[in-house]
Structure formats: structure tokens, C-alpha cells
Amino acid sequence: MTTPVLATPAADQAPVSGGPTVGQRLTSFMPVIALVALLAALTFADPDFLTQRSLTAAVRTSAPLAVLAAGATLVVLCGGIDLSIAALCSLSTVLFAMWLPDLGGLTTLVVIGAAGLIGMVQGIGHVVLRIPSFIMTLGGMSIFAAVALVISDAGPIRIVDRDATKWLTLYVGGIVPMSFVVAVIVVAAISLVLKLTPLESFVRATGYSESAARLAGTPVDLVKVAAFTISGACAGLAAVMLVSRNFSGSPTMADNLLLPAVAAIVVGGTAITGGHGSLWRSLAGALVVTLLRVGLPIVGVSSAWEQILYGAIIVAAVALTLDRSKVLIIK
């Protein structure tokens, strides 16, 4: 009989790899596989869909959604949820349009900062008042919507000076939209900071088991507030992207992006219960959701069937991408 691996002291243990197995590697690529499968299906339905121009457009379209989803992913990783991102993004488009004449080139940074600050206030409310993030941000959502409506006098504000956002409409190498490049940079930067610093441990510990994290002396509250802050800042950045696309700010511009953004997070395979997931997954998820939003009608699916297919496909996509070994109980 073989020696049981664990019966002997640790010193002379047979070396066991702690790295991911093939199966684990595969599950982390699932969002990309889902993306490719969807693209293949759309191309099958309409061969004209798979052109470089078409892909460029889809990728450009996905940028604001990807940024929104990436920011909110942090909150989800911490075990919460941010329902205010879309409303905050709308408000930020209004702020951008209102401040642009005075601030010029600085507006982008100021708006992102302001949105981050607003996110931070929500985060503080959540940790100090112990209001569940769902309710805190649901309240935030309606408050931001009202403020946006009032300060914009309930109407869109056009942008005359387009130079401040022109850079976002450029194409890198003539093909890759700058806005998407920015989205990738944001995802990469946040992911890198998480990975290289203890922050990732803090975020995951908070998401998996808040009480254990707290008793281990992890700065749970700070981490949560930071997550909400970044989520807010990302909403601000997404707003700048939308403004660069629409040449105006409007109090309801991004409101309908809430559910797609959350869908992007979940479709990417991030656990809605917290702890497990990544921003990269949300980026892939945002592309999947965008393809569904624009692809289905363009390849000629009728409005009613489009909704039915959308519903079926996002569920199927999550079935594919969610790593169930990391999430024991599915609620």
C-alpha cells in the first residue's frame, strides 16, 4: 500500500503543486470562451457581423459599460453591491457638461474626483450607519437622479467645446478605440494594484468572511469605503466616455446601464456573494453583454425574440463562467 500523503510529517511530504490545475485554469478562461462562442453564434446568424469595423464599434460601445462594471466589481468582491453607479454616471455627465465651460481640460479629472467623492460618502454611510449596501446605494440612486434632474433643469446640456473629450474618440493604431484602451488600462491598473499589494487579500477576506477579516485586524471598513470610492470614480470616468460619445450630458443618460453592468459582473463569473472574481472577468462580461445588446437586433432578431434570447443567453453564460468550487452555496 502507498504511504498516505498526509500521515507523514510535513517535512518529507511528497511535493504537491499548489498552482492551479488544468481544470481551474479552464474555468478562469470561461468568460473568454463564452465571448468567443457568442461571437461565433452571431457570425453564424449573419456572416456580415464579423468585420473589423463591426468589432471596433462593438468594442467602443462596450467601454463605458466595462468601466462601470469594473468599478462595481470591487464592491461586489467586498460582498456588497452598488446600485447607484448608473445614476451617479448620469449625474456625472450633467456635472461634466455644466463644469466644462469653466474648467476646460481639467473637467475630466474634476468630475472623476467628484464622483469618487460621492461614492466615498455612500461607502462611509454604509460602514458607519451599517445600512446594507443594497439599500444605501438604492437610496443613493434616487437621490443622484433627483439632483441631476434639478441641476440640469431636467434637460440635456449640450457640449459645444468638444476638445476636452476628443481624445476619447480617437483610435489607437486606427483600429482600437481609445475609450476601450482606457477601460483596459483602468482594469489593468486596479488589478495590478490589488495583486501586488495586500489589498487583494483584504478585499477577498472581506468578501468571503467579513467577521473573520475584521477579527484578523484587516481594515474592513477602509477597504469597503475605498471600493465604493473607486466604484464612484469609475462611474465618473464612464460618464466622460458617454459625454464624448453623445456630445451632451443628460440627467438620465446612463440610467439604463445599471442592470447591464451588474449582468456584466455576474456573466464574467464573479460571485455576487463576494470574495471570488476579478475585474478582468467583468471586462469580458461587459463585452458579452454588449454583443447581446447590439448584436441580436443587428443580426435581425425581432424585438420580442431578442428579449427572450437575451434572457436565455445571459443565464447560460453564467452557467458557463461561474466557478462553483469557489462558491459553495448558490443563492
Partner: protein, 340 residues
Amino acid sequence: GCSEEASGGGGGGGAEAGACAPEDVTLVGQVRNESNPYEAAWLDGGDAFAEQVGLTQDRLTYDGDSTRQQEQISQLLAGDTECLVMNILPNGDSDTPPIVEGAEEAGAYLVTQWNKPADLNVADYDQWLSHITYNGVESGKQIGDALAEAIGGSGGIVALQGILDTGAAKDRFAGLEESLAANPDVELLDDQTANFSRAEALEVTKTLLTKHGDDLKGIWAANDDMALGALEALEQAGRTDVAVVGIDAVPDALTAIEDGTMTATVSSDGPWQGGIGLAIGFCVATGELAAEDITDEDRAWFAEQFLITSDNVADFSSPQTDEADFECDNVFSRSQGAIS
């Protein structure tokens, strides 16, 4: 980075006007959704026109979601745009400029309806052939006057506003204010928004009925859906003494006017709107109508509308498209003049 000017967006420059063979033309109609009768009828009108010229219309809907509309348009314009004709209902004023710029860059023929920022000039663009709308101030005033008359020239009314950040809602309410100025004994007791929705109008009206009680003599609604919601609220409250007016002339409203439960509405002809935008684009794309020949008055214009009351409701009960309306030399026949 090595960034350069846009290229991914479209073919640039656009097709030479009139170069398209009729069978090469792609017709696209885009509205908010197919789950409301007015917009469904719009798309049906588009289908009718497409059939008339032996084509089919691609029906797009964006569920009242501005971002989704932009996303669909930019995806559409990333495809083959040479003979593309789009008849678009922008979700709000602010959604029009990016659509226009996209079409201009991609060389697609564009007609928009209802929403456009006032300072955006159609004549500044080559591919944006025309913008059609109804005079919202006028319609708001017309039904306001009809309401004033129905309540005998004096008494309290309430207003149900549409989605607050749309031009249509604002114009129509401005029309009501004009009407109020002309009818000094009519008092606006309250104005609330019900977001153009029947269900919301029902709730809001119920509340307003308890709030104002018998002082309330009339309800001014910025569209028929809300008017119909208000009618339900009145029925549930057992009130028969309140006059209701709306805008759009949806079939249910016409029925209500026939029945005498509703006072007035203003026509907007969905099927015609669905066809006319495509017709203008088609005529230009195939060269039957030269873009340069469209006068500045016809680049942005008010379409003909009618106040419908019990007197004339029979004439409107079943709107049909008329092939003659879509003939290339007839497409501007319903113009009531340029948008000032």
C-alpha cells in the same frame, strides 16, 4: 501612443447621392419599443412603405434606453452604410447629435422625428435629410383650450407631465401655460409627472383626486396613455364630472372620445411617420430627389396635426397609410412650415 483620427467608425465621405439602385437600399426604422401601440404602428407604417418599394424594413427597438439606441446605431453604421436609410425616433433631444454625426460620417441617409436640440441645424449636414415633428406647444395649447371649454371656461385642472427631460413634455406643458394665460379663470391646481405611463398616471391621478376633491374639474395629460390612466382612476373613484384631454390619438383614446368619456386629443399619425422618414431617405438614395433640392423649410418641419374631439373623431378612427403620401414629390405635403 500612436493615435490617429477616427477610421473605425465608417466608410467616410458617404455614397454619392442618388447612386443606389432601389433594390440595394437598406431601410431601417428605429423606435423605443414594440410594446406600445403608437410605436408599433409606426414600424408597421415603415413596413408598408418598404413593401410599396419591394423592400423590407429592419425594425430596431431600444426599449427607451438612450445608451442602447446609440449602441445600436454605431453598430449599424459599422456595417455597410452605402445605401442605408434610417428613420429614427431619438429617445431624447440629446440623443440626436451623435446619431446625426454618426450618419454624416458613415454616409447613411437619416431622417429623425420628434426630438432634436433647438440649436442643432439640419441644414448644416448633408446626410441628415430632414427632421419632422409636431408642434408640441401648439398641441399642448389646443388640448388646453379644449379642456377649458369643456369645463365651461373656469375651474381647477391638474396637469400630468411626461418624462421631464424630454422636449415633447416641455413643449406641451409650455402650450398648456399659453392656454392658461388665455383662459384666466382656469386654475392649474397641481402638476405632477407620470412619465408618459398609463400605470403611473393611474396612481398619481388617484392621489390628486383625493387631494383636490371636487375642486378638480379637468385633467390635462401630455399624452393619451396618461389620459387613459387618468380615466381609469376617475372610473374607480366614481367621478364622471372630470374632463380629460391627451395627445397622440391612440386607438383607445379615440374610442374614449367616441364614448364621450374623454374630451379631446391631438393626432399624430404613427403609420405615416414610420413611412415618411423612409420615403424621404429612399427618394434621395435612389436619386429621385436630390438632397440639394430640399428647401431649408423642408429640412426641419412641423407635420400637420388635428385636434380631435367628438365632432370629428369618426374621421380618424382607423389610421391607414396612403401610398400617395410617400411619392417622392409628395413627401413634404403635410408640412405646416419650418420649425422656427
